[in-house]
């Protein structure tokens, strides 16, 4: 039952949208990328460079215009419970309790009620919210909501976890806290993770590899492998160097994207 981490393989995957006026918008240039099983890859890039587009195609929302992505050798053809997702806006179901949200995917997998309850409670314990199981979603703070969303995404044991700026709407302190929580959970579960962010320190804090994208149409500008051990200290010299380097590249791309308009 437990989904072991699987490798992700992107082969020439690209997306061109048809805008309302009929002119095609090339959001993502063909991308080639191999992600190993259990690897934590963070994607950074200027706004509008196609990060969400890429992640959505990995989730199975919307077909690529060309190319394909494969999970453990199998072509992605639509959304699947084996690829979990954490959204920036939490996307919790307000008509269900905290527990109901976490049980949602387990129920869809056909688990019996008792087993469902047990796994959901375990997931809630993992994010420190076991005492909030019966709460309504609208009674939670943003940080708590995102913890529920993380528990919900991990509960059905997907082999891939996709995250699109999951901490983008949170304050700096909560963000820092949840980064550590996420790392701890990821280390426990060893999922393949693809994480989109605007924050360079966040990328360095989390990633095995950082993929820097160019301005639209997004292509891979640079891939940085980080072999810093966890937990990483944002004050360490290597952290700082890495930051400098990434900011330099991103500044360049940002300038291009402004020039593009």
């Amino acid at each position: 039952m437990i989904g072991t981490a699987k490798p992700l393989s992107l082969r020439g995957i690209a997306k061109t949208y048809q805008s309302k006026t009929g002119t095609p918008v090339e959001a993502l240039a063909p991308i080639d990328l191999e992600i190993a099983a259990g690897e934590f890859v963070v994607i950074v890039g200027p706004s509008g460079c196609g990060k969400s587009t890429l992640l959505n195609m990995l989730a199975g929302f919307g077909e690529p215009t060309s190319g394909e992505a494969r999970v453990g050798g199998e072509k992605i053809q639509g959304p699947d419970i084996d690829r979990g997702m954490v959204f920036q806006s939490y996307a919790l179901f307000p008509w269900l309790s905290v527990l109901g949200n976490v049980e949602f995917g387990l129920e869809r997998k056909g688990l019996a009620k008792r087993e469902r309850r047990q796994i959901a409670m375990e997931s809630l314990r993992m994010v420190g919210l076991e005492d909030f199981a019966g709460r309504a979603i609208n009674e939670l703070s943003g940080g708590m909501k995102q913890r529920v969303a993380i528990a919900r995404a991990f509960a059905p044991q997907p082999s891939i976890i996709l995250m699109d700026e999951p901490f983008g709407a949170l304050d700096a302190l909560t963000r820092r806290f949840l980064q550590r929580e996420l790392l701890r959970i990821w280390q426990q579960h060893k999922k393949t993770a693809v994480f989109v962010t605007h924050s360079v320190p966040e990328a360095i804090m989390l990633a095995d590899r950082i993929v820097v994208m160019t301005a639209r149409p997004g292509r891979i500008r640079k891939i940085t492998a980080l072999d810093l051990p966890h937990p990483r200290e944002s004050t360490s010299e290597r952290f700082r160097d890495c930051e400098q380097e990434l900011y330099a590249v991103l500044d360049e791309e940002l300038a291009k994207s402004f020039a593009l308009g």
Binding site: N56, A59, G60, F61, G78, P79, D80, I81, R83, G84, M85, F87, S89, A91, L92, F93, P94, W95, F104, G105, R108, K109, A136, I137, N138, E139, R152, A153, P156, L162
Partner: protein
């Protein structure tokens, strides 16, 4: 909570009675045109005790409930389909556009021609009155669903349309559907009175029309008061339902 609603209502009732009494004191209308509040209250009591008021109220309510249920059973699935599928919407929407501006009351003559003055005609008119509010609210409810909720449902295993509908689309649209049902109950309640005024042998509308024919304004007023009382009652019920099904939002 209860008191904060009941108190203003009670005050309004007192004000109405005072104004009514003043009108009588100043204009001295004939009793068959406007009786004083006491007389109307007495008639209310008489009709209540004889069971006549219950009978008329029950008849009107039964007509509204049956029509409202029928249109709910049609409008909710249809609205879900229209809100979800551009194609279904494109096909059905022109019909809605044509029929919606026609007041349900304009259907009363046809209803009488087709169904006589039996139950069917009245239920038909109320159906026309309740169909569109429920339908339009349901459509709006589906269209307003945050696409990210649909995506969340899909990555959590609702990969076929049926489960996505049951587990995500319907509950997400439910608050809006309840609003539609509340509005349509109101329009249905207004329409049944109108239909009964024109063609009926029972119901609150008939009580009012009959009171007019036999020059008994007190009976007319009792019928009107009952409509008001039930309106307030059902509004409270629906307000409760709305709170219950809006998941603490708004």
């Amino acid at each position: 909570m209860f008191l904060s609603r009941a108190l203003p209502l009670a005050t309004a009732v007192v004000v109405i009675v005072i104004v009514w009494q003043l009108v009588i004191a100043i204009f001295r209308p004939h009793i068959s045109l406007l009786p004083p509040p006491v007389i109307a209250a007495q008639e209310f009591w008489t009709l209540l005790a004889s069971g006549e008021l219950f009978l008329h109220t029950g008849t009107s309510l039964a007509r509204v409930f049956s029509a409202w249920t029928i249109t709910g059973a049609i409008a909710i699935p249809l609205g879900l389909a229209m809100g979800w599928s551009r194609r279904v919407e494109r096909i059905v929407d022109p019909f809605v556009e044509i029929f919606r501006p026609i007041s349900p009351l304009a259907w009363i003559p046809l209803a009488i021609l087709w169904f006589g003055i039996g139950e069917a005609g009245k239920v038909f008119v109320v159906c026309v009155a309740t169909l569109f509010p429920t339908l339009l609210s349901t459509i709006a409810g589906v269209k307003r669903i945050d696409p990210v909720l649909v995506h969340a449902g899909q990555v959590l295993g609702c990969t076929d349309q049926a489960s996505l509908f049951c587990k995500v689309i319907f509950p997400a649209a439910l608050p809006s559907i309840v609003v539609g049902l509340r509005i349509s109950f109101g329009t249905g309640w207004a329409a049944i009175i109108a239909a009964e005024l024109v063609a009926a042998r029972s119901g609150l509308g008939y009580l009012i029309a009959n009171g007019m024919e036999i020059l008994r304004a007190d009976k007319v007023l009792v019928g009107m008061a009952m409509i008001g009382i039930l309106g307030v009652f059902f509004d409270a019920v629906f307000r409760f339902l709305h709170r219950r099904f809006s998941w603490g939002e708004e």
